[in-house]
Amino acid sequence: MASDTHAQTVAYVRDTMIPEAEPPAMESGAIKWLRENLFSSTLNAVLTVLSILAIYWAVTHTVEWLVFGIWDAGSLSECREIRDMRIAEGIWPEGRNVACWAVLSDRWNQLLFGFYPQDLYWRPVAALVVFFIGVAPILFDSVPRKLFYFTALAPFICYWLLWGGTIWGPIFVALGFVLAWAVIRFGQGIVGPLAATIAAFVVPILYWIFVVGPLAGAVGAVAPIGIEFVESNDFGGFMLAFIIGITGIVMSFPLGILLALGRQSDLFIINKTCVIFIEVIRGVPLIVWLFTASLLLNYFLPPGTNFDLLLRVIIMVTFFASAYMAEVIRGGLAALPRGQYEGADSLGLDYWQSMQLIILPQALKISIPGIVNTFIGLFKDTTLVVFVGLSDPIGFTNLIRATTDWNGIYWELFIFVGALFFVCCFAMSRYSQYLERKLATDRR
């Protein structure tokens, strides 16, 4: 045997273990970590030193400015007076430069709520709470499933809380969906599945157009239950960004799925229509679409119609996001192996069943990062509505900077607005990473 001959040729073989020893000082603990992670080569050492210098510079230049900021003043010049006074009194060292956070304590309500009536601030806050409760069962598994009933009601509650007015409008609009469900549930037995499906689209639409208005008016006259009505013109600040962002996200997702399926479809006309829609929307910047909404939409609608600018903007943002969403989901659909489609067919599932049960769950899972990126992009893009005259947070920073009191201030406002956007977008991207980990069933 080879090992035997080997053993014979070796002159010395140790037959006892050497005692265990500590690893060399350079190869253990903090020193090892430093050596491997910070100073592994000359280039790395240089980069480390440069980074530390950069961090030091940034910290020394910002921390003092941030921490000692003045919160209690009526204008920028007052802020500067307070600073100069403190320096003159010797409380602060010479040359200290501080932030003037007073602009936030003075104008926080506009930055968050726009011109929404001050005594009604509880309503947008309540709407946000309702939204989070409604969305909780979608986001997290541990939440009771019963909450889905609340989720279905949440959009109507949110609408009513934000705009106010009579409670009967949202209630009767919501009843339209119940009607659609009833038609599909009970109509199948009477007129067959196809007619029931068509009726489920047509009946509620007719109901919304012709019945809801008079009905809500009549019931409202008998039982006037409602809260104060607030015009969309008074909406502004982060509230507006949230309304546009959340509505856009909620509506663009199903629309995007339909467009993606249409683009994958074998039906020539449906396919080409979806392709043209997606490419045209994606090829033109959102800002051009927003101007189209504000300048041109009235041309395309029946003469005399004039509806809310906020609604028009929401529709445009939704279309825009859904085109991007469609491309992301199409990527997911294309990435699925052909066998999944064939498997679904061989089980005898029809198109919608196979999509719902086999294809979409997998395709959507693959496209989660892209979908969430589109959501984040949409939320950031809500800032563009400032160009068509809606006062979003950036619109208010411009307004505030144009007043005599706060002329010349910019860092403080931009930091506040930027920080709020950052928190929202960063939270979304973290959630998507959590979701990816949770759904990663294919990896062991």
Partner: protein
């Protein structure tokens, strides 16, 4: 075998087959969909026609030929307020493309650097780069644009602080490296000005590139044949440099002794420069952008302490037009053509003014000179000469580049991570050194993953440049889609053209991307 006993399907066509028979169903659905789509479209069109009629408008693109009547500060081609709306739109398109190209270049450099550094084994560098990426991509572009604009237009010193104090001779602010002025009214960087015949530089560069290509090909062939590698980088640089130096020597030989004559409007025959200056007071000099002759003439005027103001024009035709309109009164032209130029110009001039060749001449100077921006000595403090970079351009350029670079960094990172470790190990096993592994094994595979999303980021940057509106940069949206629409009331036509421009740009870029994708696709099976 029950199937055999089944009755054969009846061939007669029933109406319900249109819905329940898969052979016909897709056709039915398509016909219904087509009818619905056409109905919707015709509804939109009829609404539009009715609305236009109600407003008494028609669809007419004739407004493009009318004078625009507004000024554009940032322009790459000659333009003034008498030019047409079409010209204004063209200036806007060029401005959009300018900021897009500048932005893509800077974003790529930043993005690749950050993406590679984020993968660095250096803990602190990797963390810093994560902060960079997360910070830039989670905050709206518009906010970055406004912030950069605010910093540049409110945080930087006023041009007047660059002017030396009368008593102390010291200026409050100084220029970077003595040649870059950053002020709240814009930044000014040095400009290279060329003597006539600078086209030779272009020819030299093209020839050098052909030479380099031939050299690389030869090196490749030799390596294939013999296995020996040839140094390529240093010879390539040498070829390029020697071509440029040769071109410089050739042009300079002519231009250093090339005499320019000054043609002045309103001078008398045989007047010298000093006499003309005495007669006319302050001279409006037609400076041609990037021309060495104009630069040398200005130096002469400075030297002789003649009072003048420079008006800038794009090339000969534009400056001749400026002379005819009386925007400037003196220009430098080659001595041999001066008399003919003056004779041709005279009938174009207003009234009975005459263009005359002055007796002084100027030497054109070396092939390449550096024009450094300078603060005006009297009057309103502003910088003259050099390349002016207005704050809107800088804000848009920097903000879009920083924002997009965060996304590009992520693409680069994922592209490099997409190449499996086994590739590196296999390359090492073959005995390739780390830098060759990178250039021959990792990069070609990573590029396949990186390039498509990179190009779509370029597309996004181009589309985001329409945010120029926020800082008053005159891009195509602000000219064609902004002022032109407001002035003519042609919303429908203007938005159609604007949308068309963006759509065509996107389709061209994505078409090119598809061709590229096809060409690099893995050839399997």
């Amino acid at each position: 075998m029950s199937t055999l006993t089944d009755p054969p399907p009846s061939e007669s066509f029933r109406l319900s087959q249109l819905i329940y028979d898969t052979r016909y169903r897709s056709l039915t659905i398509q016909v219904v969909a087509f009818m619905l789509i056409m109905l919707g479209l015709s509804w939109l069109v009829s609404n539009t026609v009715q609305n236009l009629q109600a407003l008494g408008k028609d669809i007419d693109f004739g407004f493009l030929g009318q004078p625009a009547g507004y000024d554009i500060g940032q322009r790459l081609v000659p333009y003034d307020s008498q030019a047409t709306h079409a010209r204004a739109a063209f200036v806007g398109i060029l401005n959009t493309l300018l900021v897009a190209v500048l932005g893509c270049a800077l974003a790529t450099v930043l993005g690749v650097t950050v993406g590679v550094l984020r993968l660095s084994k250096n803990w602190i560098v990797a963390r810093l780069m994560s902060v960079y990426v997360e910070g830039f991509r989670n905050i709206p572009t518009l906010l970055w644009i406004l912030l950069v604009f605010a910093i540049f237009s409110e945080g930087l010193p006023h041009p007047s602080t660059f002017r030396p104090d009368a008593e102390t001779g010291q200026a409050e602010s100084t220029m970077l490296f003595g040649s870059i002025a950053m002020t709240r009214q814009g930044s000014f960087i040095p400009r290279l000005v060329y003597a006539d015949g600078a086209i030779l530089f272009v020819i030299a560069i093209v020839l050098a590139l052909i030479g380099i290509w031939a050299l690389r090909r030869m090196a490749h062939r030799r390596q294939d044949a013999t296995g020996e590698t040839m140094p390529v980088l240093i010879p390539s640089v040498a070829i390029l440099l020697s071509a440029l130096i040769a071109a410089n020597l050739i042009i300079s030989a002519g231009s250093r002794s090339n005499e320019l004559s000054l043609v002045a409007v309103g001078a008398e025959d045989g007047m010298s420069l000093a006499e003309f200056s005495g007669a006319a007071g302050r001279i409006d000099f037609c400076r041609i952008r990037g021309s060495g002759g104009s630069f040398s003439t200005q130096n002469l005027l400075d030297e002789r302490e003649i009072s003048y103001r420079a008006r800038e024009f794009f090339g000969d035709r534009d400056s001749a037009r400026g002379l005819a309109r009386g925007e400037c009164v003196m220009i430098a032209v080659p001595a041999s053509e001066a008399a003919a130029f003056a004779a041709e110009l005279t009938p174009e001039l207003r009234g009975d003014a005459v263009a005359v060749v002055l007796s002084d001449t100027v030497l054109e100077g070396p092939a390449v000179q550096v024009e450094v921006p300078e603060i005006t000595e009297s009057g309103i403090a502003r910088f003259e000469g050099g390349i002016p970079l207005r704050n809107p351009l800088i804000a848009l350029w920097l903000a879009l580049s920083l924002y997009t670079s965060a996304f590009i960094a992520e693409n680069v990172r994922s592209g490099i991570l997409a190449v499996s470790r086994g590739q590196t190990e296999a390359a090492f096993a073959l005995g390739l050194r780390p830098n060759r592994t990178m250039s021959l094994v990792i990069l070609p595979q990573a590029l396949r993953v990186i390039v498509p999303p990179l190009i779509s980021q370029y597309l996004n940057l181009t589309k985001n440049s329409s945010l120029a509106l926020a800082v008053g940069y005159m891009d195509v949206r602000s000219t064609l889609g902004g002022i032109t629409i407001n002035q003519t009331g042609r919303e429908l036509e203007g938005m159609l053209l604007l949308g068309g421009f963006y759509l065509v740009t996107s389709l061209i870029i994505s078409g090119a991307m598809n061709v590229y994708n096809q060409s690099i696709k893995l050839k399997e099976r």
